[in-house]
């Protein structure tokens, strides 16, 4: 099933994330990713919700009933730029250090902290690119990984 991306403009009020999350779980909708942050407009935040539901119409309609939800747009995947941030801590030793750092940097990740037995990488990119990095470094032993949730913006006006 293909993914659907909803861009949800909300009032920046206490509890709005809880309302959105509660509506999603109350109606039994599954989501792959949810990211929230401020926008260029004061008092407005944006949530990017990625779901694999066949019909997002019900999700949109139920979320639209929330008083603090202002507008919901489903993004067209062909005209959307998507990005996600990742932090990943991986085991290294003398033998693997060079190879790990090289592999990571070739994938587009930046090393932000390297210790004797670990290295931390940061990467921004499409979720597929982040998946690739994760798979690439898995054999070396990932200690911890965190991803920031996917955000997306339409390319056309």
């Amino acid at each position: 099933m293909s993914e659907r991306i909803l861009s949800v403009l909300v009032e920046d009020k206490p509890g709005v994330l809880a309302r959105v999350a509660s509506t999603i779980s109350r109606r039994g909708f599954n989501i792959n990713s949810l990211a929230v942050g401020p926008t260029n407009i004061e008092g407005r935040s944006k949530m990017t919700i990625v779901t694999e539901l066949e019909s997002v119409e019900q999700v949109k309609k139920q979320l639209n009933k929330l008083i603090n939800v202002i507008k919901i747009v489903e993004l067209d995947p062909d005209n959307t730029i998507e990005s996600e941030v990742l932090l990943l801590k991986v085991s290294i030793n003398k033998d693997t250090q060079t190879s790990v750092i090289e592999k990571a940097s070739l994938s587009g990740a930046k090393s932000v902290d390297v210790g004797q037995d670990y290295a931390v990488f940061e990467m921004t990119g499409s979720s597929k690119d982040l998946d690739k990095l994760e798979n690439l470094l898995k054999p070396f032993g990932i200690i911890e990984m965190i991803r920031g949730g996917r955000i997306a913006i339409q390319t056309k006006l």
């Binding site: 509890g15 009933k65 929330l66 008083i67 202002i70």
Partner: protein, 570 residues
């Protein structure tokens, strides 16, 4: 000139007065106590319930009877949690409700303080919207907004939680003004294109059915509906929440469809080629298994809540808008179309003749609820308001009572809240002291909120209560008979305890009892005569009686079980 400062509590009371609220229902406690002090001097009538759940249902009854906002006030913690049932009930049945709850002081929030509950979190899924007040200045504005949200669009409950320190904060009164809410703009006027498409489908239809519900009543669109149906001779079925939206007794009215609907209403939908669904939500009690529901019909679905459209059934013509505007638009578009539905009406009337609702009241046998209801209606006022509990008696009332106008039938349709009847009747009587308010309840339901009989007596609210006592949770027993091989697990209550007559008397009401057919008329006459205090009539009825017709949950509306013998079909 600067105004004198008022406390948050005074702002609450002044805001209610400002919004022309005349009656509120509630129960005080620690955190809300500051608000009860200015209430003492206010012209607003406060009705003191014996349990917060009762106060919530009273406010619902008030709102359902009047079509206006019902207001309930409670304290923090258990006060607020006890409101969750009425709030959810109001959400399901789209009843405009404002709940004001006290909260522990701002600085104690989150510390598990005495009588603290996370009210906003707990009621998030039980309200249309809710607020936590963070400064006293907000109070008038938020309360006005809350009323606006509760009473417009698809009505529903709104809760405003106010910490105790904020009730004591002194600020100036700032006159509230409705400002635009960027995320709340209900669509009232339907898209004319959709009205055109709907009118075209209606013109082509040979077997149209108006399938209408509570939305007609909320929108006060019953006259428009009457015009649409009678002008174009379109038969009407009214859902449980829509009873009274179109008058029973009219030749076009086929009354309630669904699980315990009459055969003709349920079957008319199955045979129809066009459902004109207005202010309904294709509830499972109407549709049974939606896969088999109205398979031959195209669907026009009009509702003020866009989320209802396509939720259960994808319509051919979706219309978002207020029922009144939708119907007015349809009448205009259809202009002088001649639909010629006479063959269709003949078919339905033939069906009605063949499969009437029936019951068998033996001369010396135990009382049957339908018989008792019909006898009561003969004696009751035409504008009496009937308030029901949930279960067998509720279905029998919906089947056998003739509802001729909106807001005369109050019940808990969506949530099915037992215990609703008595407190909701108190709310209705508080709104209409001069009308007959009949709380027709089952014994199981009555025992859930019967302490509110004290509220009725002490607040001088002379409602009439009929407790149909079959000594059982009747509908549970019926299901156990049909689906659980007569294994009556935990459904028996006994006929004799409590002694309802003594219970009524002890609570300041008059208690009467009817056992035999010959009692019915004279006991009801006596009940209707007494107008200075509440009256309770215990009506001992047959525990073996079952509600038919019946379509088992998840079944097909093509298979209607008409009577006990018919159960073999299952």
């Amino acid at each position: 000139m600067s105004e004198e400062k008022l406390s948050g509590a005074e702002l609450v009371v002044r805001s209610l007065e400002y919004m022309n609220i005349s009656t509120i229902f509630g129960l005080p406690g620690g955190a809300i106590l500051p608000a009860y002090d200015p209430l003492y001097d206010s012209p607003i009538r406060h009705i003191l319930a014996r349990h917060e759940q009762g106060s919530g249902h009273m406010a619902e009854g008030y709102a359902q009877a009047t079509g206006e906002l019902g207001v309930v006030i409670a304290t923090s913690g258990p006060g607020a949690t006890n409101l969750i049932t009425p709030l959810t009930n109001a959400l399901m049945d789209s009843t405009p409700l404002l709940a004001i709850t006290g909260q522990v002081a701002s600085e104690a929030i989150g510390n598990d303080a005495f009588q603290e509950a996370y009210t906003v979190g707990l009621t998030m899924a039980a309200t249309k919207h809710n607020y936590l007040i963070t400064s006293a200045e907000e109070i008038p504005q938020v309360l006005l907004e809350a009323k606006h949200i509760a009473t417009t669009g698809r009505p529903g409950p709104v809760l405003v939680d106010i910490p105790k320190d904020i009730l004591n904060q002194k600020v100036e009164w700032i006159e509230p003004k409705l400002i635009e809410m960027p995320g709340y703009k209900p669509t009232l006027e339907p898209n004319p294109k959709m009205i055109n498409q709907a009118a075209e489908l209606i013109k082509q239809s040979k077997k149209p059915i108006l399938y209408v519900g509570g939305g007609i009543i909320h929108s006060k669109a019953n006259q428009e509906l009457f015009e649409l149906a009678t002008k174009f001779k379109i038969p009407v079925v009214t859902t449980l929440m829509g009873r009274g939206a179109f008058p029973d007794g009219n030749e076009l009215c086929f009354e309630m469809p669904g699980m315990h609907g009459n055969y003709t209403a349920t079957t008319s939908i199955q045979k129809s080629d066009l459902l004109i669904a207005i202010g309904v939500r294709f509830d499972d009690r109407v549709t049974a298994n939606p896969k088999f529901f109205a398979q031959n019909a195209k669907v026009i679905h009009a509702d003020i809540d866009p989320a209802e459209i396509g939720k259960i059934r994808e319509p051919e013509v979706p219309i978002v808008g207020d029922a009144k505007s939708v119907i007015t638009g349809l009448i205009e578009k259809l202009a002088d179309t001649d639909l010629n539905t006479s063959d269709w009406l003949d078919e339905l009337n033939q069906m009605k003749k063949e499969y009437p609702l029936s019951y068998n009241q033996e001369e010396k046998g135990p009382l049957k609820v339908p018989f008792v209801l019909e006898e009561l209606q003969k004696l009751a006022d035409d504008d009496a308001i009937v308030v029901s509990g949930v279960g067998q008696h509720q279905m029998w009332i919906s089947q056998h009572w003739n509802f001729t106008s909106p807001n005369t039938w109050l019940n808990s349709g969506g949530l099915g809240t037992m215990g609703y009847s008595l407190p909701a009747a108190i709310g209705a009587k508080a709104a209409y002291p001069d009308r007959q308010i009949l709380a027709l309840d089952g014994d199981g339901c009555f025992q859930m909120t019967c302490q509110e009989l004290i509220t009725a007596s002490t607040e001088n609210i002379p409602i009439k209560i009929v407790v149909f006592n079959n000594g059982n949770h009747g509908m549970v027993r019926q299901w156990q008979k049909i689906f659980y091989k007569n294994r009556f697990s935990a459904s028996e209550l006994t006929h004799h305890t409590p002694d309802y007559v003594a219970l009524a008397e002890s609570m300041g009401a008059t208690g009467l009892r009817m056992i035999e057919k010959s009692d019915v008329k004279k006991v009801f006459e006596k009940m209707l005569e007494i107008d200075d205090k509440p009256v309770l009539v215990e009506c001992i009825v047959d525990p073996e009686d079952m509600v038919f017709p019946m379509v088992p949950a998840g079944g097909s509306n093509d298979v209607v079980i008409l009577n006990e013998d018919d159960l073999k079909k299952l």
